[in-house]
């Protein structure tokens, strides 16, 4: 092998430059380590190029479309004409390009060595990148995830995943979405706003099945009101493609027809043929198993992000990346449990939640030790002004702290910051109650809910 100008030994080698990997790299150089960051595609990974960012751009175009359509309600004379997918994509791609440029510049300016190519774990301390071997005193695996499908369900043609859905140059007339989780519901929301006839097919008994039951009920109602159709509780059986589109059959014999089918049944870990098993890592259904502190149990190898079982979220990846860099530096960072990581679904309406659902709290603390309060946004001035309904639901331990906050409504995702502080700082409703929230905001709905749960509702 020819000697390369690039150093081949690093304090820390990071495999994968997505949310988890690049956050680890950035924090590691801040702490004084030399870092090699191996990336076969584009820095920023799924989140920047095929995930969080492009979907939220589409959702904003959707909001603008709905705003123009409903303008008259607010005294604004405007006419909605159509969606120009090329312009939508130009806007979306412009956002991605800007962030991508910023990220590349940042990584470079901090002195992180970016190694372009496809890496494979070669030993406990080495990664082989297309034939060149790099050494790291510590190794952080962050190879991320891909759009899964169901056994026997082939992606191609009119059966697509989010990757294709994000680069479409036309608005279909009708779509069937397989999967009513976060990604499925976000696309349903976008397409509905773009004028598409949308049907979601979900095998579990409800949409967004991981959310609190009150959120599920109100969310389904809101989607129904928007004219988004869904069929829950029956499993998908097969799909046929023809010239007109797709015909989807469920196990109960029901069929649905549409131009396209989006498969949104979850994300699988990218861990195959990367030398993980050979290095002795513990694997489970493709995921890398670690201890609470993200150590794999092998040498000085850590794993972070979507390849570690749990919430597949970009900010969990960031957090784990920072955590592992600090752990390696001996800073003993605090473990943040998945339970206390904020979750947002950016559809209209949005869902935001952190901590225990009512059901999980009852299981954990016992039925008699859990109190809840549901505040309806119908009482919230700002929500009425922007034309959204929704709820704020609090779950508390009896005589104890708030252990769960669950919210629904347009723009309510932005309330998750206060909610996560309350849950992570183990606040009692009585701690929040004296702090009157700014009027008139959607934020004050959180304040009202805490006042009510503290036994002194202001407007209720």
């Amino acid at each position: 092998m020819a000697a390369s100008a690039t150093a081949q030994e690093f304090d820390i080698l990071v495999l994968g430059g997505g949310s988890g990997g690049y956050a680890a790299a950035l924090r590691a150089v801040q702490l004084g380590f030399t870092v090699g960051l191996i990336e076969k595609g584009k820095l920023g990974g799924t989140c920047l190029h095929n995930g969080c960012i492009p979907t939220k751009a589409l959702l904003h175009s959707a909001e603008i479309a709905d705003g123009a359509r409903d303008a008259e309600k607010y005294g604004v004379k405007a006419t909605f004409e159509s969606i120009d997918m090329n312009a939508v994509n130009a806007y979306k791609d412009g956002i991605i390009a800007g962030k991508y440029r910023g990220l590349q510049g940042l990584i470079k300016s901090k002195g992180i060595t970016v190694i372009e190519g496809s890496g494979k774990l070669a030993s406990q301390n080495t990664i082989d990148v297309d034939g060149t071997v790099y050494t790291g005193k510590h190794i952080i695996l962050a190879t991320g995830s891909f759009s899964r499908s169901l056994p026997g369900l082939e992606i191609g043609g009119k059966v697509i995943t989010s990757d294709q859905a994000l680069t479409m140059d036309f608005v279909p007339k009708s779509v069937i979405i397989l999967g009513g989780g976060v990604i499925g519901c976000e696309f349903a929301s976008v397409w509905k706003s773009f004028g598409v006839d949308v049907t979601i097919v979900e095998a579990l008994p409800s949409l967004v099945p991981n959310e609190d039951a009150s959120i599920v009920k109100n969310f389904e109602r809101a989607f129904k009101k928007r004219g988004i159709k869904f069929n829950t509780g029956t499993r998908f059986k097969s799909v046929e493609q023809n010239d007109d589109g797709v015909v989807v059959s469920l196990e109960d014999g029901k069929t649905f027809e549409a131009d396209l089918m989006l498969v949104a049944v979850g994300r699988g870990p990218v861990t195959q043929n990367l030398g993980y098993e050979e290095a002795g890592l513990t694997m489970d259904r493709g995921f890398v198993i670690t201890n609470e502190r993200l150590h794999t149990g092998v040498g000085t190898i850590y794993a972070i992000g979507d390849i570690v079982p749990g919430l597949q979220l970009a900010h969990r990846g960031f957090q784990q990346g920072i955590f592992v860099a600090e752990e390696i530096a001996g800073l003993k960072p605090v473990v943040v449990a998945d339970l206390n990581i904020p979750k947002v679904t950016y559809s209209d309406p949005e869902i935001a939640s952190v901590g225990y659902t009512e059901k999980a709290a009852r299981e954990k603390f016992g039925d008699e030790n859990v109190l809840t309060h549901e505040y309806n946004l119908a009482g919230n001035g700002k929500s009425s002004i922007i034309g959204t309904g929704g709820i704020v639901k609090l779950v508390r331990e009896k005589d104890g702290p708030i252990v769960g906050v669950h919210m629904l409504g347009s723009r309510m995702g932005e309330q998750i910051g206060e909610a996560q502080l309350i849950v992570n700082w183990e606040a009692y409703p009585e701690d929040v109650a004296p702090l009157i929230h700014a009027h008139p905001t959607q934020n004050e709905a959180l304040g009202e809910a805490h006042l009510a749960l503290a036994g002194k509702p202001l407007h209720g």
Binding site: K332, V334, P401, E426
Partner: protein, 66 residues
């Protein structure tokens, strides 16, 4: 005492307290290093501080009553 050694990571974890607990301890003149946490990983919770404050008050009240 070797048994204490394995506890050391626990007490490191409990060194982290939320701002609410810190402030409550300050208001009630409770020394956090002397409080035993009952939360996850030995973390000190609000109730622990309140209990410590109560215990101290009770201890102070006793001689006064005699």
């Amino acid at each position: 005492k070797p048994a204490e050694k394995s506890d050391s990571s626990d007490s490191d974890a409990s060194a982290y307290v939320t701002p609410l607990v810190r402030r409550l301890a300050h208001q009630n003149d409770v020394d956090l290093s002397a409080v035993k946490g009952t939360g996850v990983g030995g973390r000190i919770r609000k109730q622990d501080v309140l209990d410590a404050a109560e215990a101290r008050k009770a201890a102070q009240a006793e001689p006064a009553q005699q």
